[in-house]
Amino acid sequence: MNLELRKIEIKDVVFGEVPGVKDGVLTVCKQDIIDELMEDVNVKSIKVDIAKPGEKTRIIPVKDVIQPRIKVEGKGNGFPGVTSEMVQLGSGKVNVLDGVAVVTIGDIVGFQEGVIDMWGEGAKWTPFSKTLNIVVDIEPVEGLDPHTHEATVRVAGLKAAEFIGKAGKEAEAGVVDKYEMDDIFTETSKYPDLPKVAYVEMLISQGLLHDGYIYGVNSGKILPTLIHPNEELDGAVISGNCVAACDKITTYQHQNNSAILDLYNRHGKDINFVGVILTPELTTLEGKFRTCDYTAKLCRTLGVDGVVVSEEGYGNPDSDLLMICKRLEDSGIKTVLITDECSGWDGMSQPLADTTPEAVAVISTGNVSHVVELEPADRVIGSAEAIATLAGGWEGCLKEDGSMVCELNAVIGATSEIGYHNLTVELY
């Protein structure tokens, strides 16, 4: 497969009548976006706002973040299987509105948090404080069942990103990133002496507000599956999560999966990157045993020497992470885990909900319990009720001056377990 991500550097976003890009300024037509999304009979109203880095603006509760793009050569614009007809992704040329994100908001349940602060202390912790955010607030019609409500908001966000992406069709790209990888046998014949490495990406797959989608298929309904890394970079994997703000993998993060990009960067240099295995994190223990066995079997079938595994979420998925690790290490496959930790306010508690002695190479992407102080915003895009939830964590977390103290788990992408975030690791 051969994929080109052609990055159009966007320095500013403005509302206007005629969508397009000129001198690094993206113009979007608010009414056109609203009209496009209102075509869904389940949508009652749409509001569109812009939030820029440095503004004293808070966005809450965030459902998903999506990168607007358009495919200018080859098949598969948008999100095949969801917003467009089904085609194979992973090849062609894609114009990316680099520096812009579509952020969807809308509370499906009252306890959603998911905050993006565009300034101050909060901005330090989320990668989406640095993007020019086109915020789409989606209100569905009354009376929808919760599954339809969630799907309406999820699909509206994807449609918005696809629609806004059209503005980049004629724009001149700056950096062009090329991702080319042949079948495993061909690549291995090119690099016979390099260790073969696979990437296992775990996806929360547990039901309402806890789902991932692959070409529109709910990941809870599949056995672990092998995909080409280009497919994910081209939009095959979509987020359906709403409640794990700090460590859910947003669609934007799937489109720019840091683990895939880093492995790609080393492909042919010191490793032979053989592909991505998407693994559902199920609810039942029998389901977990099955998917973890199957994941290890796929890795053995590929004959890999090493595997990088990233988790999504915290709690019961920790069991899957460590079961996969144990099965791989027992098979003689060196395994590196990427996870965040819940190690208390002081960072001193046991970090995961489960343990195994085989987990000897673990990368932490941050402590979800780390406490941060967020000062009051001048402008809130979204819901005041969600802020009340955010401010209700414990006695005394809402201060007299209106600032509040919360744990990182409320901040979108703060401890991304695929490494698409602002933190780094310090070795002692």
């Binding site: 009252g110 919760p146 039901g207 809870g220 223990l285 909900a353 939830t389």
Partner: protein
């Protein structure tokens, strides 16, 4: 494989139409304690006692599936429930239970429970749809 199950729950929205139920008058932690006792009595632990995110740990409600029949106590299940209780206590030590959004937690817990039951493959889709 044993398919019969019991729902251990403190969620008022969970009805008996989903299957046999042990209703716990108490908190999320009380549900975990009940599950632990059943596991030590030899019941299978069918669904994981914890959710998949920090936020769900602040829920007032939790439903867990255990097997209906008893056999030897399983070390795997015992370790899973014990480590889950430890994780729950550590993760919620400084936090308030989110009672303000209790109704929404109850709804989501019910939906996730239905998914767990479907995943376990016991009752047919038609029966799930009847109770929606």
């Amino acid at each position: 494989m044993e398919h019969a199950f019991v729902v251990v729950t403190n969620n008022p929205l969970v009805g008996k139409d989903l299957g046999e139920m042990k209703f716990v008058e108490g908190s999320y932690e009380d549900v975990l304690i009940k599950v632990r006792d059943l596991v030590y009595e030899g019941h299978q632990l069918i669904s994981h006692p914890l959710g998949a995110s920090m936020r769900m740990l602040f829920s007032p409600y939790r439903s867990v599936l255990v097997g209906a029949e008893r056999s030897e106590t399983s070390e795997v299940y015992a370790l899973t429930i014990e480590s889950s209780m430890d994780t729950f206590r550590r993760s919620t030590a400084n936090r308030n239970v989110d009672h303000v959004n209790a109704d929404d937690y109850a709804r989501i817990d019910l939906e996730l429970l239905k998914e767990a039951i479907k995943e376990h493959g016991i009752i047919q889709r038609e029966k799930i749809q009847e109770v929606q």
